[in-house]
Symmetry: C2
DNA sequence: CGTAGAATTTGTAACGATATATATGGAGGC
DNA sequence: GCCTCCATATATATCGTTACAAATTCTACG
């Protein structure tokens, strides 16, 4: 497929019926090229598809003509005829979007999709409806050729549904299902394990961790990495209750402040998100505690933000843009078929 | 148009050929409904469109049947036949996306578009190509029914092109063109004016402002508001050189640090973005200066971030999500036609 | 020189919807 | 009883593309 989103601008084309060219020159179609070359529409179609059934010389002639008139295939017609949409659907919960999680992913995805015929369509999912709804809708009505989504759960209904339907998808995060499926994940076990070790090495003796909501797989990975580290080292620990990484920053701050006022307060914090880390910082600051001296904090960093935060805190970086690139790349492979599922899985290292 | 994205799930529908129903029950089309009701396809089409030419009783019967079988019109077919795409294109530069600018807008837009037949398609624009390119492409190839974009310039080529083509669009930010056009903007003049007044009232005597790149209209609005305030008050001022709101945080930090080491350093800062505000904070912090005592800072806030930043700084809020909602809403009106341009313009107050 | 068989090209139908033109049926006027 | 007219429903063509089957040309070989 030599041309599809070619950006060739030849005629000035003042968007409308220009009087310079003879006849009202409309959007060129296969028929236009057929008339220009004296070939049949079918032949033109195949020639543009570089079908070896068409003589090489003919193919080149047709492709040259197509380029000259600025032909681009009509996506609606292609879609109607072939059933393929050339659309990839990214299901996004606009409320989950704290500090550019989605944007980073979109950046990576669009970078990978550039130069392919695929468009990225944002399918919003609002948390007041079951998360399977948009997935069913897309599959049932063939709204896209492939689906991308995040916040995967251990026994994710979307994954089960898509596997059963044989519909291409890549999710951010793993499941614990028996059937393997494509995914891109981050090594959250390692993240909390390393974070805890860092804190303990720095002298912390009671660690406090804020985890994602329990329904997500990465809650368990984070918990497990954390637990392994604190048990290996035999230090005190606690898991934040009543708040998660999805909680409002104010709620996190209040909870942390309250906890610090109780007996036996923690001296080391682990946050899997930037907003909650900021909340921990504001809470401790407001209590007159100094980060790096009285308490320590390790946060997951997904933007350049913490490079500017003072006092400096330790961070471990997760590259969401790279995750997006990978997800789109794996989905392209999956849609092309033939790649074994084992090669459609990636875990980004800490 | 009574149904379009109705989310009615009736049959279990194990996505494939279920053996329970007689015949391989495929995606229902107009033909399906025609056979079920004993009417012609044309009649069904009109009935679903609530065409008064069709008897009321027939319309209801058809619509009931459509709902029962879970009919949804095929968008590709509609698009091919009518030329309308049901797509709204948001042109986004993924590199401009610092801390969720795009995500906030997307949140607002999808909220407005919910319940309409329109999909939001992200058309990425990378800064290594002219910003008119994606616009031409969308218009020339009818990739969408309307366009949304941001970072408007005083004599914006995209606006000129779209106006001439008569193609619906709403941009974030104004132009200085003679022809009126739909836009949503924020009162950036007021923002810098108020910010400067705040600083001066607090005792600042030399203000330092970081502006957007000069090519954008809001650079001039911000500059003008700032200049008006400092002239009214007769205080010292300077406009950052060599850095803009688009500069990397490190560059901003270095520039600010360098400036503070020179003679006659500023004591009040105005930042139109969160990242540059963080950079100012880190620069002054690293010099041992205390925000609120030695220097002051007023920043534009577009997320909940600064509620957690310590020391607390003054912020003025811009609701990007609301801007997105408005932009989508105005675009819907524009596409429906008939609304005078004057009613398709909005400036969000400070 | 006729023809098999490959190499090319072409014609027709279909995807699912809608715009336009046409047909059907019954009520009412003369 | 014939014709008009209105209300309602149907038939046909079409959007631009591709799958499939059929046709045409060319080469080569007995």
């Amino acid at each position: 497929m030599p041309l599809d989103d070619a950006e060739d601008e030849h005629q000035p084309n003042t968007a409308g019926a220009s009087a310079s060219n003879p006849g009202p020159h409309r959007k060129p179609t296969l028929k236009t090229i057929a008339e220009l070359t004296g070939l049949a529409v079918t032949t033109v179609s195949r020639a543009l598809g570089d079908d070896p059934l068409i003589a090489r010389e003919t193919r080149q002639r047709v492709q040259a003509t197509a380029a000259k008139v600025g032909y681009l295939p009509d996506r609606a017609a292609q879609r109607l005829r072939t059933g393929r949409t050339n659309v990839i659907s990214l299901i996004l919960d606009p409320h989950e979007e704290i500090l550019g999680y989605g944007t980073s992913m979109i950046r990576g995805m669009t970078a990978t999709l550039r130069g392919t015929p695929y468009h990225l369509v944002i399918t919003p999912h609002f948390s007041d409806t079951p998360h399977i709804d948009p997935v069913r809708h897309i599959v049932r009505n063939r709204m896209a050729d492939g689906i991308l989504f995040s916040r995967t759960e251990p026994s994710d209904e979307r994954v089960k549904f898509l596997l059963e339907a044989g519909f291409p998808f890549v999710c951010h995060g793993r499941t614990e299902l028996a059937t393997p499926h494509p995914y891109v994940d981050y090594d959250n076990y390692r993240f909390t394990y390393e974070a805890a070790k860092k804190l303990i090495t720095s002298g912390c003796r009671r660690l406090f961790i804020i985890l994602p909501p329990e329904r997500f797989t990465f809650h368990h990975h984070m918990r497990h990495g954390f637990m392994t580290a604190v048990r290996e080292e035999g230090v005190g620990f606690e898991i934040a209750e009543g708040i998660t990484l999805d909680s409002k920053a104010d709620a996190v701050r209040d909870r942390v402040a309250a906890r610090m006022a109780e007996r036996n307060p923690p001296d080391g914090f682990i946050c899997g998100g930037e907003v909650s880390a900021m909340a921990v910082m504001s809470a401790t600051h407001d209590l007159g505690l100094e980060i790096g001296r009285d308490v320590r904090l390790v946060a997951k960093q997904t933007s350049g933000l913490f490079d500017q935060v003072r006092p400096r805190i330790e961070t471990i970086y997760e590259d969401l843009s790279e995750a997006g690139r990978l997800m789109a790349g794996l989905l392209l492979k999956r849609m092309a078929g033939a790649t074994p599922v084992g090669e459609l899985q990636a875990v980004l290292e800490v």
